[in-house]
């Protein structure tokens, strides 16, 4: 099956693992969800395996130093939009490790073009540690640009 010059494992030329912050290095998108204007941020699960959504304890986010209220945020995964206070009950819904989600943040004004300071924290439970139940804290801080509108 091997091609000429094909190196199994990629050898020294293969790309290095990228960062695994819960905030992806992707542009901020402006959108309207459930009739409300807001922003979308691309998220990844900062574990090494899929987790049921009941293992997501908390998501915090601030944009340009302004904290976002949890009640307005939605986690959008696989075409479904979830309130954060629904997550504890969703032990049958798995976030597969290679899937990315969107976080919707209500935002009534238009965001200025250019880069914005985005800072946040995801708190999860790795649900199987021999030592018992404990939370994992994943802080992330990025400068993300607003996506241009074609």
């Amino acid at each position: 099956m091997q091609r000429e010059g094909h190196v199994i494992g990629g050898g020294a030329q293969r790309p290095r693992p990228k960062d695994r912050d819960f905030l992806c290095e992707e542009d901020i998108r402006q959108t309207v969800l459930e009739g409300r204007p807001g922003l979308l941020f691309r998220l990844r699960l900062p574990s090494y395996r899929s987790l049921p959504l009941s293992c997501i304890e908390r998501i915090e986010l601030s944009v340009d130093g302004r904290p976002v209220e949890e009640a307005g945020m939605r986690l959008i995964l696989g075409g479904h939009s979830y309130r954060l206070d629904e997550l504890p009950g969703l032990s049958k819904v798995f976030w597969w490790i290679l899937d990315q989600a969107d976080l919707f943040v209500p935002w009534s004004e238009r965001l200025q073009a250019g880069e914005h300071e985005v800072e946040g924290m995801m708190v999860t439970v790795e649900p199987y540690m021999t030592g018992g139940r404990y939370a994992m804290y994943y802080p992330s801080r990025r400068r993300l640009a607003l996506a241009s509108e074609e």
Binding site: G9, I97, L98, T130
Partner: protein
Amino acid sequence: MSDTAVFKLGISFHTFVQEYISFVYSFEDMMEMASVLGGGVEIVGPSNHRGFPEVTPEFERAFKSAVERYGLVPTCYGSYADPFMLPDRDLTPEEMYEYIVPQLKGAAKLGFPVVRLQYFSHLIAERLIPWAEKLGLRMGYELHTPLTIESPTVLMLREQIDRLGSDRLGLIPDFGIFARSIPQYHLDMGRRAGMSEELIAKGQQLWAAKTDKHDAIEAVRAAGGDEKAVSWVNMVWGSLGHSEPAALAEIKDHIVHCHGKFYSIVDGDEPDLRYEEVVKSLLDIGYTGWVSTEYEGGPADTFAIAKAHQEMMKTYINKHRQR
């Protein structure tokens, strides 16, 4: 040729996890790499396929197709008990049973002969055994630090296995239980967490003296360690154990698979784990199953380091095998 059979070398995809979850290696890439890393494939259920705890028909076909294409042998499916998945309480035994049975069915669909169980599953092992019989599987509790061969929990598991008297239930030693020293990887983690060289040296002394984890935490706190130092102790005491390689003889009838955990290879050896003694012990007890290479150190060329691990294993096998 009158060589006696020796154990076989394969790969756990946990080795490649950093590349896999950051889209450097695809699942197919890992299957291809497995073909030149002994050919035995161990996968991590909730990491390596969509649809967990079930296996989708799509993944079943993709997996079997790659097994055929590269001439691989499925060796072990990593199942999870996840007792802490609910925020307000632990799973009941009934809920854990409902969670694990689909994983056994999925493993069997994919052609795995062995399923790794987390020890939490001991609460329902008696009910899983009929499923293992029906599906043609053997199940093994992973002996991962702090579950050393000599620990009270493992003595309890061994008693249960003896009492239930089924060869469907056994053990999977993870070689992290056979440590002689704390790897550089863990020492560097302590430094990144802000621990002083003196505090790290103190931690090394406490670990070498086989100090109980709670006493070690007290001692590290007394020496000025903060909460980050305490979580370093938790991590080290939860990764590196003091089992004796010769103690594999005590559990030899129950070993269904092995995890060849390692953190680094320096000059052809794993400096912090007692690999030569482990290989000699596996040969002495006549183990002929699989050992999955399972890297868990820092960023590295994981394909190259997995090859180096298997070269080390082969060197020790050739040195100690009976001809």
